[in-house]
């Protein structure tokens, strides 16, 4: 068990980071910390994908001197997925930040509990 975890240390780290990000996003009341948590969570997935695609001793899949054997290159698909994922997470981060900005301007707090309390008071 432990041996497997050490051999696949990239994946282990990715899953740990995912857990940290997930709990931060879920449990923290501060909106900025929630956004940080979300970014940690997404980055952990990219680490996982990148680790899955890499094979030690092979080249990056850029053809320089004619196509070599398929075995000479690492798998380029996960890199493509990571790029797409980064685009998605950047846009989501931007949206969340703008939402936090709107809430902060109106309620002068980033704490979701305090904001909720002030909203309820305002709408009573």
């Amino acid at each position: 068990m432990l041996e497997n975890l050490i051999i696949n240390h990239y994946e282990t780290a990715a899953v740990l980071l995912f857990g940290i990000g997930f709990t931060t996003l879920l449990l923290h009341q501060n909106l900025i910390k929630k956004i940080i948590g979300m970014n940690i969570m997404d980055t952990a997935v990219y680490l996982f994908l990148a680790a899955k695609g890499f094979v030690t001793g092979r080249l990056s899949p850029i053809v320089v001197n004619g196509v070599q054997d398929m075995e000479a290159y690492i798998n380029p698909v996960p890199a493509g997925l990571v790029l797409t994922g980064i685009v998605v997470s950047v846009s989501v981060t931007a949206l969340m930040l703008s939402l936090s900005l709107c809430l902060y301007r109106r309620y002068h707090s980033l704490d979701l509990d305090i904001i909720l309390m002030r909203v309820k008071k305002e709408w009573r």
Partner: protein, 500 residues
């Protein structure tokens, strides 16, 4: 390949293109463009449906020039055709019904942004229905979430900002889980297209290798999509989101957006993970239990509400519970009942949200029950719509809800262990539904004295022709689903067979 095979691709790209064009248009023109787009998409999806019905089989459409394991694919069959056409109809009606409110509640100059969101939402829903690629599905899930969040927060009130923030947090948790499950699935199978991935999963199961990672993947994927669609313990964002956004947004979000994820889940079960092993596995039991809990708890929370929009939102929690309960039965009949309930719930919930708005318009804009008293006499069309929607949700014959409850009950009887809980919860939930919907219908038809009526009338917000038209169409749609359900159920059945 006949020309009609291109239509799914056209409808997705057309919607995205219209979204981009809307960003430089005025609010009025963007509105016209969106409505036109929905009509065109309806025609395109209906012709895909007609083509697949006549040919009797699904087809795969290659995107670009790369064949199966590398390129991207779209797949269309009868089920996809039915869902896409139906979603276009519901979205069109929900949008038309809320046009006046969009004009009132959204800052002028920003109204074209709302229609950008509508176009992008349509594109992502269609893509979720049609796509045959897992990672494309993830990307469109995120586009769907962002567009939905935009539709909530565009009202620019404190309540809607908070609702959007809570919605985003829950949705991001869901998409995070979905993304990591896709990554592990890719690690296990090495495939992203659904068809080869299905083969790889079947080979894994046959060899008995990597069974634990596969189980974890299935669990993560199910939980992720369940969070996003608002299954019972993850429903906390629903009342806020549906209660405080503009009328069209509530109708579209509750009837379509959460359903898109359920359809994706069914699709992944059938097209990737293998319907046989999923349906006999343990995960469906989990969905079954949480579905039942949602049916009861959603209705109980709805009874306690004093705000009509929030009450309808809690009723949505219960209806999502029904859909997952049907999936959890683990039989084909259960899945068909769920699919039919997706249609019937969309038809009735859209109607309820739109007509509830019509009722609060004639009660000085208030959503409280005490102010809504007698609203039925002030806006008869909205009251008729609300009554029909309520009867459909309760499950009276003639209406769509009756057929779905009938399908759930007949599907439940097939499984000896799950029969009793299913029937009991259906009965209890129906009684609870009746309690709160009957109370509302009685409230809106309680006569008030002339003085109060004239006071409410003086404060009324102008009511529009578009709302009446939309309510009328929704009523007709409910009756069609209720009276002519046989061909629709047959179409769903043949579509589901094409899936696997």
């Amino acid at each position: 390949m006949p020309f009609v095979c291109n239509f799914p691709f056209f409808s997705i790209v057309l919607s995205m293109f219209c979204g981009i064009v809307s960003s430089v248009l005025s609010g009025k023109n963007a509105k016209k463009l969106s409505i036109g787009l929905l009509c065109v998409n309806l025609c395109l999806s209906a012709s895909v449906l007609a083509y697949t019905l006549s040919s009797g089989e699904s087809y795969v459409y290659m995107m670009g020039h790369f064949p199966a394991p590398w390129g991207n694919e779209i797949r269309a069959g009868v089920l996809e055709g039915v869902l896409a056409s139906f979603f276009c109809v519901i979205m069109l009606l929900a949008l038309v019904g809320g046009l006046r409110h969009i004009a009132q509640e959204i800052e002028s100059g920003k109204q074209n942004l709302y229609f950008i969101m509508v176009d992008l939402l349509l594109a992502s829903l269609l893509a979720l229905i049609y796509t045959n690629d897992l990672f494309t599905a993830y990307v469109f899930v995120e586009i769907n979430t962002i567009a939905a969040c935009g539709m909530i927060m565009i009202r620019q009130t404190g309540r809607s900002y908070v609702a959007a923030a809570r919605y985003m947090v829950m949705s991001l948790l869901g998409s995070g889980l979905f993304l990591i499950s896709l990554s592990t699935l890719y690690g296990l199978t090495g495939q992203l297209l659904m068809t080869p991935a299905q083969g790889a999963v079947a080979a894994l199961r046959a060899s008995g290798q990597y069974m634990e990672p596969l189980t974890v993947t299935i669990a993560l994927m199910t939980v992720g999509l369940a969070i996003k669609s608002g299954l019972y313990p993850f429903h906390s964002w629903m009342p806020e989101t549906y209660g405080y956004s503009t009328a069209s947004s509530s109708a579209i979000l509750s009837s379509l957006v959460s359903k898109g994820y359920i359809i994706l889940l069914i699709k992944i079960y059938y097209r990737v993970l293998g319907s046989e092993s999923i349906m006999h596995g343990k995960i469906v039991n989990l969905l079954f239990v949480f579905g039942l809990a949602g049916m009861i708890m959603g209705s109980i929370s709805a009874i306690r509400e004093s705000d009509i929009r929030r009450m309808i939102a809690f009723s949505s929690v219960a209806q999502i519970g029904y859909i997952y309960m049907g999936l959890g039965l683990g039989t084909e009949a259960g899945v068909i009942a769920s699919l039919f309930h997706i249609l019937s719930h969309a038809a009735s919930k859209g109607l309820l949200f739109i007509s509830a708005t019509g009722l609060s318009d004639v009660s000085g804009g208030s959503k409280r029950f005490k102010d809504l008293r007698g609203a039925g006499y002030r806006n008869p069309m909205a009251a008729a719509g609300f009554t029909v929607g309520a009867m459909s949700m309760v499950g009276l014959p003639l209406f769509a809800g009756f057929i779905s409850k009938l399908l759930f009950a007949t599907a439940g009887v097939q499984d000896p262990t799950k029969m009793l809980p299913t029937l009991i919860c259906l009965a209890v939930s129906t009684v609870l539904n009746t309690v709160y919907f009957l109370r509302t219908v009685l409230t809106i038809f309680t006569p008030v004295d002339a003085d109060a009526a004239s006071k409410a009338k003086a404060r009324q917000i102008t009511r529009g022709f578009s709302l009446k038209l939309s309510v009328l169409c929704f009523i007709v749609l409910n009756l069609v689903l209720g009276l002519f359900s046989d061909p629709i159920v047959e179409a769903l059945q043949s579509g589901l067979h094409m899936f696997s």
